[in-house]
Amino acid sequence: MSRFSQFGNDLYSGRRSFNIVGRRRFWYAVSAVLVVVSLLGLFGRGLNFGIEFSGGTELRVLGVSQIDGYEQRAGDLVDENVPDRTTTVTLIGDDTVRVQTGEMEAGQAEDLRADLAQEFSVPVESVTSSLVGPSWGESVTQRALIALVIFLLLVTVVLTLYFRTWKMAAAALVALIHDVLFTVGVYALLGIEVSPASVIGFLTILGYSIYDTIVVFDKVRENTEQALDTHRATYGEAANQAVNQTFVRSINTSVVALLPVLVILVIGVTLIGPGTLVDLAWALFIGIAVGTFSSIFIATPLLVHLREGEPAIRKHDATVLKRRARGEARAGRRAVDQPEDEVAHDPSVAGGDVEDVGDAGQRETATVGTPAPARPAPSTAPQGRPLHPYAQRGPRNQPRRKPRG
């Protein structure tokens, strides 16, 4: 584990760094593939809506005397007659079994009626069948969509105000849409039935995705603001460092969020069997994983992409690069100037990029660069301008008070 914490330290200090922003084309390609796959699923196979959305058939078996195991018995029969349907079997009162399943043709319904009557040993007339409408009707969906659109608009406004640039809001929204689209696409591809529960799952993912992106972006904001002040790093570098510094957080958070869902999934698949719980767990598992992925690998590179074009940022980046080039040139010159000096002081160290220190006497004569930044800078500290002798000597003497009289 200490290796993991070392990993965190290295990411923080910049000793180790994943070039995520720089390799954005690769990550764009990855997510383009994901999106294409989900679009294929959505338009190729289409979503499989449950009875709650599309309506279906309801059969009732009245006056059942042998009620034990009714769920299993009725469920099996429906599977035989009309496969690939999700069926709910409930007990109404003491002796009525209600079977709700998707739409079927009249012939199928007749067969099923006969089978159910036989299974529960009641006359065929005691099995009634009727059509049920959707409980999650058009109006519910419509209002939910309106609410979603208003929410997204509101979030855009809030994030624009908070981050002081609409581009962060835009990038966050793209990541959000990416996540939900992918999850819904997987649903379509695997043919998992969409029930109200899975819609709730999608909404949960939406909340998680935007939450995760904001956490990452807040760090990006912090780092880039600092970079814009100090001119130490370009916008892209600062953003990349922010992502690296929150990397450990992202891993920890997604592990913590995924662990319970994973347990549900495992228990669901092995012990409970298919049903609401497993469907939900799938949606959440995929959604959370892709949500974490997108806030790091999609949202941040996209943000850098959007902002790099701004004149202010472009100017800043140019300044940084110019400074760096100048610093390097100066360091090179100095290395030529005093090679013997360096070697004389400390022959064991090869890199001549750190300034010399020893006792006070030497310090006065030595060149001495910037005081090392409290956090080691990502690139091994470049030479700054030489300090004025006053600054090297330490605190000045206090002015002496004139003797009275």
Partner: protein, 658 residues
């Protein structure tokens, strides 16, 4: 990141004293005193602990209050509260009621009307959306599945007729929102939930006015006319001109109940009882009783009702016109005759022949009253509440009336919909009402809970591995969050009929992740500060400053999501939004009121403050050097020079930013 925050210097002063305290206590604990800590009196006086202790105390009070609330509701509540959360339809089963819609005149119900009926029922049965009732079409009937066991009263409220009527306003009086918001948590959400709906939709009470459909000369809205006319009849100056109209309406008014009054607007109808009733009516507190009473009131008598927003109460005259006379109600942007769009939203009512005549008579009579007087208005009453009470600005004889006011597109649409629903004279007959079993077996819930528990334990283990002793704080925080969540779900189950479905349970499980994330963000920020070389005590303060921003903005966005989805959507989505808002609030509460105070108190203990082994905050493990200044003028020898460097960095020598 390395610059010290201004103002930090001031804190160094008390810090000095506690540094000395730390060294003494270190000696003590080295001597083997059981519990490491400062001497007691000193601890109580330590100014660094006072704030956190107070916060923790507040949280304790809150938690105790929550559970005391549950206890009280359980002992004295009406109905009695349960001590466990209420479960939804899929987990606990409930009652299925099949309602057959009937028109009052025995006509068959069209498919379109059936859809409207389903929407009406959905709102009646579950306006807050938290109970997750299922309303669907079953053949030509409406099937309603309600979790739990509804009372006969609730069933009765479901099947009530949804007829809208037009009544003239006799007296109107604004109700000052008495400090608190008009909505109080209900004990039963069932009856007349439209009110809630309308409170949301029509939130800014719009002064509305009616004018002739194509009369655009005086198009814009009137000023507010909540004159609060007390009883004296303000028979207007131009009363002479209107007496003729009065007579006309008296003779031809379709539902004239022959009261001792000269016409339906006559204030003589207000008997002392009605007046007494009006004075006592409290639209904030007894909105439901008033609405229920009003819904069943006879058509020919004056009536005391509240507005749907609960901000105005009225005495209304007898019914003059029923919703059945309304052909259509639409909302749209106002258009002038030249086709110029004004941008003002309006609701357009279209009456049938009978309605046109009756409405023309009503408006011509009401025009006789001074503009701004209460009697100049008429009210549309639906389900015992006034959904709109505009003033009359012109005589409307062509059967097309427009209502303007400061509508938004949504509020205009809502009013139009309500008017349309109200135009549908449907009542419902209960055909069957049966108990249904849960759709998901108890098996599913049990395994779901087991899975949640195992997941929680794994999360605990992970936090301990990652953050060592600090992980214990995270574990404790999660437990506190769980306690709060359980308590509030239980209490809300009683107060607003909040019910947990399987999706809700999974949502709560996912909330573990989001809640734990707040701690992770916080701990990682503190670690970052330690990495930058801050001594732990200061690292906690600065780390919190930064983490707090992140946690608050991300939670605020989730709260926005919850609020928008809650107010604008229905049934399942509403329930989701409720759960999301609840867990987000708990997350914020726990991080601010528990985790941070505990961590900042712990930072003052030698174990954490000095970053001992397994504290989770060892500077060495985080790649930083210990603080060199040990207090009392003592310094530590600088450690060996790090490989790859030829000198000590400033942090190594000075202990970073102190």
């Amino acid at each position: 990141m390395s610059t010290s925050v201004p103002g930090r210097q001031d804190e160094d002063l008390p810090g000095l004293s506690s540094t000395t305290g730390r060294t003494t206590s270190r000696r003590r604990s080295a001597a083997g005193s059981g519990k490491p800590g400062k001497p007691r009196p000193k601890k109580a006086r330590n100014p660094r602990l006072r704030g956190p202790l107070r916060t923790l105390l507040a949280l304790l009070v809150l938690t105790v209050g929550l559970y005391a609330g549950i206890g009280a509701a359980n002992l004295w509540g009406e109905p009695q509260a349960q001590l466990t959360p209420q479960l939804g339809l899929d987990l606990a089963g409930g009652r299925q009621v099949v309602l057959a819609p009937q028109t009052d005149d025995g006509q068959s119900v069209s498919a379109d009307q059936l859809e409207q009926a389903i929407d009406i029922i959905r709102r009646r049965v579950d306006g807050t959306g938290t109970a997750e009732a299922e309303v669907s079409r079953l053949g030509t009937n409406v099937s309603v599945a309600i979790p739990g066991n509804p009372t006969p009263d609730q069933l009765e409220a479901l099947s009530r007729s949804s007829q809208m009527v037009f009544r003239p306003v006799l007296v109107a009086q604004p109700v000052a929102p008495t400090g608190a918001e008009p909505q109080v948590p209900r004990e039963l959400p069932l009856p007349s939930e439209q009110r809630q709906e309308q409170v949301e939709q029509l939130a800014p009470p719009a002064p509305e006015s009616v004018e002739e459909g194509d009369g655009t000369d005086d198009a814009v809205q009137t000023e507010e006319n909540r004159g609060g006319e007390r009883l004296p009849a303000s028979t207007s100056t131009d009363g002479a001109a209107t007496t003729g109209d009065d007579d006309a309406s008296q003779t031809t008014a379709p539902v004239e109940p022959a009261p001792p009054a000269s016409n339906p607007s006559d204030l003589a109808q207000i008997t002392p009882e009605v007046q007494q009733q009006f004075v006592e009516a409290d639209c904030a507190a007894d909105a439901e009783e008033i609405a229920d009473a009003a819904a069943g009131a006879p058509a020919g008598q004056p009536l005391v009702v509240c507005s749907a927003e609960g901000d105005e109460k009225y005495i209304l005259g007898p019914v003059e016109l029923s919703g059945a006379n309304l052909v259509d109600a639409t909302s749209g942007v106002q258009q002038l005759q030249q086709g110029v769009v004004t941008g003002v939203w309006e609701v357009v009512l279209t009456f049938d022949d009978e309605g046109t005549q009756a409405f023309g008579e009503v408006t011509s009579r009401l025009m006789g009253f001074q503009e701004g007087a209460a009697q100049n208005r008429f009210a549309m009453v639906l389900d015992g509440e006034v959904i709109s009470a505009p003033t009359v600005r012109s005589v409307i004889s062509n059967g097309i009336a427009t209502i303007t006011g400061n509508f938004t597109p949504e509020t205009a649409q809502t009013l139009a919909n309500q008017l349309k629903f109200g135009a549908l004279p449907l009542s419902f007959e209960v055909q069957t009402s049966e108990q249904i079993s849960p759709t998901l077996g108890g098996e599913q819930l049990r395994w779901g809970l087991v899975a949640g528990l195992v997941g929680l334990l794994l999360v605990f283990a992970f936090m301990l591995v990652q953050y060592h002793a600090l992980g214990l704080v995270a574990v404790a925080s999660l437990l506190v969050a769980a306690l709060l969540a359980y308590g509030s779900v239980t209490l809300l189950g009683w107060a607003t009929n909040f019910r947990l479905t399987m999706a809700g349970v999974t949502g709560l499980i996912v909330a573990i992740g989001v809640t734990a994330d707040s701690f992770i963000v916080y701990f990682e920020r503190v670690r970052d500060e330690v990495r930058s070389g801050r001594p732990l005590r200061y690292a906690v303060d600065t780390g919190w400053d930064r983490a707090r921003r992140t946690i608050i903005i991300s939670d605020v966005v989730n709260l926005i999501a919850a609020a928008v989805l809650y107010y604008l959507s229905e049934s399942g989505v509403k329930a989701f939004a409720f759960t999301l808002g609840l867990t987000t609030l708990i997350d914020l509460l726990v991080v601010i009121m528990f985790t941070h105070p505990v961590v900042s108190m712990l930072a003052n203990t030698p174990f954490f403050g000095e970053g001992r082994k397994w504290s989770g905050m060892e500077p060495e493990r985080l790649g930083a050097k210990r603080s060199t200044y040990l207090g009392r003028g003592q310094f530590r020898e600088p450690d060996a020079v790090a490989p790859g460097r030829r000198r000590h960095t400033r942090e190594e020598l000075e202990g970073g930013v102190v």
